[in-house]
């Protein structure tokens, strides 16, 4: 097996694992109505990555992960602080934090390029995503992180379920909601960070929510939805990587386009919740209602 093949294998494995982990954790982000928080975190990760590089002096995915997790966490705190203590609403708070943190990241990035010979830093790949640039050690970190996230989801599934569905009740039965929220946030940040290198800042949020949103149309059970979202994510990852290989186009965007197609298909054709079946059902019910009303009227006339 030559080097090229190994690289391709790496890309396929990591995209599948990444898709799986992000689809599963994305389910909770979606149901907590925090789709855009994922976007904010992806952007907020950049200054953390840059600071990690400035402190350590060379690329290290593990340190980048820690840096990104820290700045992502600070970003969430900032959003919550603004919403709680000012009249600024949540959407604007997310926008403020997202754009200012990203601006800071860009400032640091240009600083690194000027002063540290940063072209070798590989930070650039985090901005736009470059699955092909994944090295062996990257794949190791990515695999370990993704598997850890998946295991954590399985362990805390019951708890995540209840804090997502009914916070107040969870608190009432003595579950530490803030701690579990912290864990959930941390898992999201972890997935965002390992995903950045593969799909880039802008598209990372889509990797979280699009598979989950597609899965929502097929089932009413959280267990199935989580599994299905993971499956859709993994499928999109592999399909995107494969198409990019034969079409010589960037992997990240293709993964997202594939995931969006899965969503559109689910949105239109899923049984029960899909648009088509809804329309058919509505049509039937309207007919039924009309004939009922007609019968009433006839009854009245008699």
């Amino acid at each position: 097996m030559n080097r090229m093949d190994i690289n391709v294998q790496w890309v396929f494995t990591s995209m599948a694992l990444l898709g799986l982990a992000s689809g599963m954790i994305g389910t909770f982000a979606l149901l907590k109505k925090q789709s855009l928080i994922g976007d904010a975190m992806a952007h907020a990760a950049l200054p953390g990555i840059c600071i990690a590089f400035l402190l350590y002096g060379q690329k290290s995915l593990l340190l980048f992960l820690i840096g990104a997790a820290c700045s992502g966490y600070i970003a969430t705190i900032c959003i919550q602080f603004i919403v709680k203590h000012t009249r600024v609403k949540e959407d604007a708070a997310i926008g403020i934090v997202l754009s200012v943190f990203f601006g800071l990241g860009i400032v640091l990035l240009t600083w690194i390029n000027q002063h540290e010979g940063g072209n070798q830093s590989g930070i650039h790949d985090f901005l736009f995503g470059k699955a092909a640039s994944l090295t062996g050690s990257d794949v190791n970190v990515l695999t370990v992180t993704a598997v850890t996230v998946i295991i954590m989801i399985l362990i805390f599934f019951k708890e995540f379920k209840i804090i997502t569905f009914d916070r107040a009740f969870a608190q009432g039965i003595g579950i530490s909601v803030s701690l579990l929220n912290g864990v959930l946030m941390f898992l999201i940040v972890s997935v965002v960070v390992i995903g950045l290198q593969a799909v880039g800042v802008v598209l990372m949020s889509a990797l979280l929510i699009t598979p989950a949103l597609a899965a929502r149309y097929w089932t009413e059970k959280l267990e199935w939805m989580t599994l299905l979202a993971g499956g859709f994510g993994a499928l999109s990852g592999v399909a995107g990587a494969y198409i990019s290989l034969i079409a010589y186009a960037p992997t990240g965007p293709l993964v997202i386009i594939f995931a969006t197609m899965l969503f559109i298909f689910s949105f239109l054709f899923a049984p029960k919740r899909g648009l088509c079946s809804k329309m058919i059902r509505r049509h039937i019910e309207r007919k039924k209602l009309q004939s009922q009303q007609l019968m009433y009227k006839r009854g009245e006339q008699l």
Binding site: R87, S99, F102, G103, G105, I106, T210
Partner: protein, 289 residues
């Protein structure tokens, strides 16, 4: 005019344009729609290029306008069909952006445009790209483009001030009064798309978001009048441009990034010291000495 003056003028025009449009976005709780449109507009620019084979002002504006309105429409439609709002925004813009990136990479040899440029902008090059009439230079193209969009924005806001105001404050009331709320919504989204694409080329997608939301949210902390809020957020946008540019030249870093950070700093300071809604005052009130 000197090189610095042109850059400051460009950044200030971006600040004014974004401040005006952003005020309504913040009040209508549509801030994240600006994030969406600022990214999906990339597809409009690529599309315009593929059809017209150049990157001149008008075709770019039209392309951006179409994709901007398409984004809004799709988000609205998905929302109506039961997709939660935040997710609808997230799905639509990432998909359109992804298509834009793929198209750029497929036609990379022919398109003078790259994703990095689109995200971060290159305001430092603005003064070199001048508009020439009859062989004479009449100033950078970006200035003309931004000036043109500013004229449109001011016209729309002055013309439809009362309609924009009531449909932002009380949508249902506006409907019963016979105000064309749907038209108003799409006019605003059109203004947003034009502002985004005009600013995009010089400052990039992310700074557009920063300039749209942060100064307006800051102004929201300072005033209780819509008209003052509009002026105030335009002013904060200009102020942030000045500070950001100075920082960027001193430390030799990205100008658009530095401006985004400056908006954040101004917001952070206002958060504490704003007269009526600042935290300092709130806390002082709570614990009277």
């Amino acid at each position: 005019m000197s090189y610095t003056m042109w850059i400051l003028l460009t950044a200030s025009l971006v600040g004014i344009n974004c401040g005006l449009v952003g005020t309504f976005l913040v009040l209508r709780k549509m801030s994240m729609l600006s994030d969406a449109i600022s990214h999906s507009v990339l597809l409009g620019i690529v599309g315009a290029y593929m059809i017209s084979h150049h990157l001149q002002g008008v075709s770019m504006l039209v392309g951006a306008l179409i994709v901007g309105l398409l984004t809004t429409f799709l988000v609205q439609w998905l929302h109506q069909k039961g997709v939660q709002n935040d997710a609808a925004i997230g799905v639509v813009f990432t998909c359109l952006f992804a298509i834009g990136v793929v198209l750029i990479s497929l036609f990379a040899d022919r398109v003078h445009l790259d994703v990095e440029h689109a995200l971060m902008g290159e305001i430092a090059f603005v003064p070199w790209d001048v508009l020439e009439v009859g062989g004479k230079s009449i100033g950078p193209k970006a200035i003309w483009l931004l000036g043109f969009v500013l004229a449109i924005n001011i016209f729309c806001i002055v013309f439809a001030y009362k309609e924009l105001k009531i449909s932002s404050f009380d949508h249902e009331m506006a409907v019963t009064l016979g105000i064309p709320v749907v038209l108003i919504h799409y006019v605003l989204m059109g203004m947003l798309s034009l502002t985004t694409v005009a600013s995009f080329d010089s400052v990039g997608a992310i700074l557009v978001v920063a300039m749209l939301i942060v100064p307006s949210a800051t102004a929201y902390l300072w005033t209780d009048r819509l008209s003052v809020m509009l002026i105030c957020s335009a002013f904060i946008g200009v102020l942030a441009s000045m500070i950001g540019y100075t920082i960027a030249t001193v430390f030799n870093v990205s100008i658009s990034g530095a401006i985004a950070v400056s908006t954040g700093v101004i917001f952070f300071i206002s958060l504490w010291i704003a007269p009526k809604y600042g935290l300092l005052r709130k806390w002082l009130k709570k614990s009277p000495a």
